[in-house]
């Protein structure tokens, strides 16, 4: 647990709109500065081998962008990432090692190429990168299918011939096919019906245990996060506002936003819940509020919160948050 497998430091991503050169010229001529969207702002995380880190937040909080940067799909604007101490850039330059981080996606339909058979979906990369010789690919795929609980004949079918849960299994098998060490799951169970969701969550727990995989689990569903993750990072408008062990976070959330989330989280109970009015809307990431992004909705915000951008503070060992006024509850 001491050694980290993935280290993320001050990771940011911002982009501006309008890449069309004519548009840029026109903008320049008319003196318009195109707004900059900061999707992810100074995120710092470290993940230990075998650990499951949950990232939770509402839409527009930058969790998916973060996942894609870690997976090496989206370029980063600033910051550093290290895999087992090695800078990410050098890792990515070696094709085989770049496969160490894999991803499972949200939409079980769009994440599988409808024109490819399952065998090709799962086996293609393994063959291309020489992990498995082409002649052995049949067995290799069958083995993987068995591992995710699909019958071997599934290899010859197309994605649309499967149900949602089965498709997600194919997606998991595809990621596993290149022997990753880190698996990033972006809302991997959000689109599934409850009964199927449970199946897939169980599968994740199985492969994590079997392979000792490190996982980054991104979700808006606190219930799923709580069930699966060792630690949780809560994001709000591009920033990590709280990071703690799962039990600590659920037991004693310190950031007012985390509290609000937990309060809003529906749970099965026999008690008729007294819904309380929660104030405010989620601001647009195009024009985030100054200072602490959360201050317009925050019940404990002060004048200071409007101006000062709070830094991460450690509350307790392993429990950090980004609030100027928070006290342990």
């Amino acid at each position: 647990m001491q050694q980290t497998i993935l280290e993320v430091q001050d990771l940011s991503r911002s982009f501006r709109s309008g890449r069309d050169p004519l548009r840029r010229l026109a903008d320049w001529l008319s003196g318009i500065e195109p707004p900059v969207v900061r999707a992810v702002e100074n995120v710092t995380l470290s993940i230990s081998p075998g650990e499951t880190l949950g990232v939770v937040g509402e839409s527009g909080c930058g969790k998916s962008t973060l996942a894609r940067m870690i997976a090496g799909i989206l370029p980063i604007s600033s910051g550093r990432m290290r895999f087992r101490g090695e800078p990410y850039e050098s890792l990515l330059s070696r094709k085989r090692d770049a496969l160490k981080i894999q991803m499972v996606f949200q939409d079980p339909l769009s994440s599988l190429n409808p024109r490819l058979k399952v065998r090709d979906i799962i086996g293609e990369a393994a063959v291309v990168h020489g992990i498995v010789p082409r002649s052995k690919i049949r067995d290799y795929v069958a083995d993987l299918l068995a591992r995710v609980g699909l019958p071997p004949e599934a290899a010859g079918r197309y994605p649309h011939q499967f149900s949602g849960g089965q498709r997600q299994r194919v997606g998991i098998a595809r990621a596993l096919a290149v022997n990753p060490e880190i698996l990033i799951c972006d809302e991997a169970v959000a689109a599934l019906d409850v009964s199927v969701q449970a199946q897939v969550i169980n599968l994740f727990m199985d492969i994590k245990r079997d392979r000792g995989l490190t996982m980054v689990f991104i979700s808006h569903d606190l219930g799923v996060i709580r069930h699966l993750c060792d630690r949780v990072a809560v994001m709000y408008l591009g920033r990590v506002v709280e990071l703690a062990k799962t039990e600590d976070l659920f037991a004693a959330p310190t950031h007012p936003y985390t509290r609000m989330l937990l309060e809003g989280m529906p749970r099965i109970s026999l008690k008729r819940r007294e819904f309380l009015p929660i104030q405010g809307e989620i601001p647009s990431p195009l024009a985030p509020p100054s200072g602490c992004h959360f201050h317009p909705r925050c019940p404990i915000a002060t004048q200071q919160c409007r101006q000062v951008r709070p830094e991460l503070r450690e509350m307790a060992p392993g429990h950090v948050h980004r609030c100027l006024n928070a006290v342990a509850s």
Binding site: A198, G264, I268, E281
Partner: protein, 322 residues
């Protein structure tokens, strides 16, 4: 016990597609009373939304209500034509849809979309209409409603839009509202806000409400009674306590057990094996039989309802005994 506001009896809504008949709703019966929230829960394809649209009389080709009756305060609705039903829609029964981004016409101002709801049913002065719209918007917690009336939908956030939709639904003081997953597309914090507003309106106005959702958690906190649907058929119906606390149907049980928060973190979830059967090839028996560990041969043949209490009814040959 008050008289039923809505009485649905043996409703069958089928779709005659090229591939065959899709029996989306089969023999569904339930009632709704004033001031009550009835939750309909089910996974995708369970027929919960079609049930809602059937009540609205808005089943599109190639679907139609094959048999059964829907009575609103004693008036039969299934025999009305689409045009006749117009006088009930909005006025007596209002509906709220899942995706607030799509429910409002993107090229019309909020004002016009709300005005037309009143204008179509009542002959009221414009000023009066305006006042009622402003009132309705403030009632659902929209700040500066006058301004919002002039806005276009895209100028509002998702949560705001859903409030506008709800305000529109409430405009004519309907007897009941059908809400089809009204908060699913919203973020947790916004979801809580919306539910708060709706609940308040129900309590204040004594409306009947059907709340369709796939999410048992939300329903358990909101609904008075819950109906569980699976593959077009009712599995179990009862008060929230009876469904959450005393579930007798294997499907309901499994559904509850598979929710992560009902399990200990890190432990394996209870799961239902297999997938929902195709609605094209349903037999007479229990549609859940193929996935049910308690099923026997008889389950593929037939299933009969059992009345467990005044309010609790179950369609299962082998219910759990408690």
């Amino acid at each position: 016990m008050t008289e039923a506001l809505l009485d649905v009896e043996k409703l069958n809504t089928w779709f005659y597609t090229r591939k065959g008949i899709v029996k989306s709703v089969r023999d569904v019966s339930f009632d709704l009373r004033r001031g009550e929230v009835l939750g309909i829960v089910g996974e995708s394809g369970s027929g919960k939304s079609v049930t809602g649209m059937s009540i609205m009389g808005q089943i599109d080709e190639p679907g139609r209500i094959v048999s059964g009756s829907i009575k609103l305060a004693g008036e039969e609705l299934t025999t009305l034509s689409f045009t006749q039903m117009r006088h009930y829609r909005g006025k007596r029964i209002a509906m709220v849809f899942q995706n607030p981004l799509m429910t409002l016409n993107p090229v019309m101002r909020i004002r016009d979309q709300m005005f037309e709801a009143i204008g179509e049913h009542e002959n009221v002065a414009r000023k009066e209409i305006h006042r009622r719209c402003v009132d309705a918007l403030s009632a659902v917690g929209i700040p500066s409603p006058e301004e919002r009336l002039n806005a276009y939908p895209h100028e509002l956030s998702g949560g705001m839009r859903q409030r506008v939709v709800i305000a529109t639904a409430l405009l004519l003081g309907p007897d009941m509202i059908i809400a089809d997953e009204p908060t699913t597309a919203l973020d947790v914090t916004i979801q809580a806000q919306i539910i708060y507003q709706i609940r308040r309106q129900i309590d204040q106005r004594g409306l009947g409400m059907i709340w369709i959702s796939h999410d048992l958690s939300t329903l358990s906190e909101l609904a008075d009674r819950i109906m569980v649907m699976y593959a077009g058929a009712t599995m179990e119906i009862g008060t929230t306590e009876e469904i959450i606390g005393l579930a007798r149907h294997p499907y309901t049980r499994r559904l509850l057990e598979s929710v992560p928060s009902r399990n200990k973190p890190g432990e394996k979830l209870q799961q239902i094996p297999g997938n929902m059967p195709s609605l094209l090839s349903l037999g007479q028996g229990c549609p859940f039989a193929s996935r049910c560990e308690r099923a026997t041969a008889i389950c593929n043949e037939t299933v009969a309802p059992t009345q467990l209490s005044d309010t609790h009814r179950i369609w299962c040959n082998h219910p759990f005994e408690d």
